[in-house]
Symmetry: C2
Subunit: 273 residues, 2 copies
DNA sequence: TTGCTCCTCACGTCACGTGAGGTGGC
DNA sequence: TTGCTCCTCACGTCACGTGAGGTGGC
């Protein structure tokens, strides 16, 4: 016979609170083994204890309830282990970002802001291989990595060579609303058939205030701040997407402090230019 | 003259969304430099850019808004740096817990549950130095560390020696509600004057089912599960606090896999005992 | 018989995001 | 004049926690 446990006993055995257990029942993550139809009392089975203990660990790792459900429902061991290691990888990435943010905070508080020279520049229209998508600010780094991987595959497959560094166009609402259109592009001098997300497009010309950003992309806001101040002080702001040219990036060096990124802020044309 | 920025410009310069900036205004974390009384339009000053960038970094590190406010309001550099490093320490601790949880999850999923032998035991009343408090489950490890430090200071100050290992009593609601009375105690054979939170008390006798838990305290639920199953199967459950005896703990070894903790679950008395 | 355990709503938390609906300046 | 930017509510999100108010079993 199965030994049944009250919700209180089950709570002490799993270190999940009674409120949490009721919530997991409500959302279908962990159904009691039996429910008294008269009183509504929940009963749990001893064999549910390890499942509940696993749930507690997943939740301690901040895995969303839906994902926990998916992992537990996967009777396929391979799929289950994949889901778990995918989550652990996400966590490792977050940890690295955290360390980068700490370093970045230290620099900022020590007053060592980027003081690069602002330069004004006209960029001509550029034929490019590009991927365009609506991207959220938080997922943009991962999106960019994927996009450039795909673009370089297309470049290689076509047997051509990029004309200059890879770059990105960011709609203002990407920053202001946290979601907006982003175009990742690689300048080329030949037309290529569209495959998958990759298309050949002409990146429009622009008049820009430009600054060289040295270091990790987490700190890009410092260069944006510098450009924005410059543009505001000179009253030369114009509409249009923000630009980033990745001169030295993860593709070239594993050390983020070696990254070199040109940031461009749209301006009105210069007189006499 | 101060150059004023629209909320959109300020957003692009700081990489904080417009919604976030309005929220920070509402809660008093970051007041605009000026507000148009007719339209309600917010204006920000260039000198606010580094402050906003610092706020973004603190929030990326999940520092609560109230704490960010406290850190920024502290014009005392020393206090500010203390608050920051306190937060970074908390994050490091969390990281270690995360790694422990990952290890713990691996063990659980590989089916290697604690299979220790359950033993029944009567423990006599024990005169002890104790600290009692209402403690939440999440903060209990830190609370316990502090409590034992204080207790050992008191023991030392009195020039006496503990009679046996330090231990803890946990009210059922500590697990079931996530908050409940906890007593940390060190058995002694002399009365000591109450100082601070420390008092001399008699820990009551108890009839217990006991199992030896080997390894980190994160995994204690496995031993609780084993005891609860044993007690339920034999129908010998009784009221009363749960007990943990810390035979080998952080005080003795830096390696959590070396920890030895006896867990006690209250039972009815044995026949013939 | 009396606490004790358990139950179900309903609402709060935290830091914004998501629309809806509307207004002033170039 | 027409978009565009900005504005203010009001409500949603996520995983429970916090009471309130009430019932069945030892």
């Amino acid at each position: 016979v199965t030994v049944l446990l009250t919700i209180g006993e089950f709570s002490r055995m799993t270190h999940l609170s009674v409120k949490a257990l009721r919530h997991y029942h409500d959302v279908g993550l962990l159904e009691p083994a039996a429910i008294d139809p008269a009183t509504g009392y929940r009963s749990y089975a001893v064999r549910q204890v390890p499942i509940a203990q696993a749930i507690r660990r997943f939740r301690d790792l901040d895995m969303p309830i839906d994902q926990v459900k998916a992992v537990l429902d996967a009777d396929d061991t391979v799929a289950r282990n994949q889901a778990i290691s995918a989550h652990l990888q996400r966590m490792e990435r977050e940890l690295q970002e955290t360390q980068a943010t700490v370093a970045s905070l230290r620099i900022l508080l020590e007053g060592g802001g980027a003081a690069g020279v602002v330069e004004r520049r006209f960029v001509a229209p550029t034929r490019s291989l590009a991927i365009k998508d609506s991207v959220s600010f938080v997922e943009s780094e991962a999106w960019l990595t994927d996009a450039f991987e795909e673009l370089y595959h297309a470049v290689e497959a076509a047997g051509i060579t990029p004309v200059s560094a890879s770059a990105g166009l960011y709609a203002p609402e990407f920053f202001e609303a946290g979601v907006g259109d982003v175009i990742a592009f690689v300048p080329v001098d030949a037309d290529i058939e569209a495959t998958g997300r990759v298309a050949t497009v002409e990146i429009p010309a622009a008049e820009l205030a430009v600054v060289m950003h040295e270091g990790a992309l987490t700190d890009l806001d410092q260069s944006y701040g510098r450009l924005g101040a410059y543009v505001a002080e000179h009253g030369i702001g114009a509409d249009g997407p923000l630009r980033e040219y990745y001169l030295v990036s993860a593709a070239e060096t594993p050390d983020p402090t070696q990254y070199r990124t040109e940031v461009g802020w749209p301006t009105t044309p210069r007189r006499g230019a």
